[in-house]
């Protein structure tokens, strides 16, 4: 049951990470010189979204 819960919990971060990087690729394709500013922002957003998946992973072992 924990396993199923963790599987469901990964859906949200997966969607979020896909959205973040699709937005990054779109922006860099439109304006390549903005990559320097955009990449750290995308990385931070990725970290926050991924943290949820990791939290689910840790709690899967705890609960």
């Amino acid at each position: 049951m924990n396993l199923i819960g963790y599987g469901i919990a990964t859906i949200g971060p997966a969607l979020a990470i896909g959205l973040i990087f699709s937005a990054l690729i779109n922006s860099v394709a439109r304006q390549p010189e903005a990559k320097n500013v955009l990449q750290p922002l995308a990385i931070l957003g990725f970290a926050v979204a991924e943290a949820l998946a990791i939290l689910g992973f840790v709690l899967f072992f705890l609960a």
């Binding site: 990449q39 750290p40 990385i43 991924e50 943290a51 990791i54």
Partner: protein, 80 residues
């Protein structure tokens, strides 16, 4: 494989790393940090729990670990 504008690498140019793989390892690095944070501080909290026979330190350790690993990520990769 020559870069479009060589002075735009995150480390401030004058860097030979500029092919198509540049930056594609960042995601893996960040995942390592995010796993390391909760694991390390959760383990510390768990140890303190066993030592002091309390129950609340392990979740606190996990939360602190996530926060610290995000701080390190901001420190290392989040600044332009």
């Amino acid at each position: 494989m020559s870069p479009a504008s060589p002075n735009l690498t995150p480390s401030g140019g004058k860097d030979e790393r500029s092919g198509f793989s540049r930056g594609s390892d960042l995601a893996a690095q960040i995942v390592s940090y995010l796993i390391a944070g909760p694991l390390t501080f959760g383990a510390i909290g768990w140890g303190l729990d066993a030592l002091l026979s309390t129950h609340f330190l392990r979740p606190i350790g996990i939360i602190v670990g996530v926060a610290l690993s995000m701080y390190v990520i901001w420190l290392r990769y989040g600044r332009p």
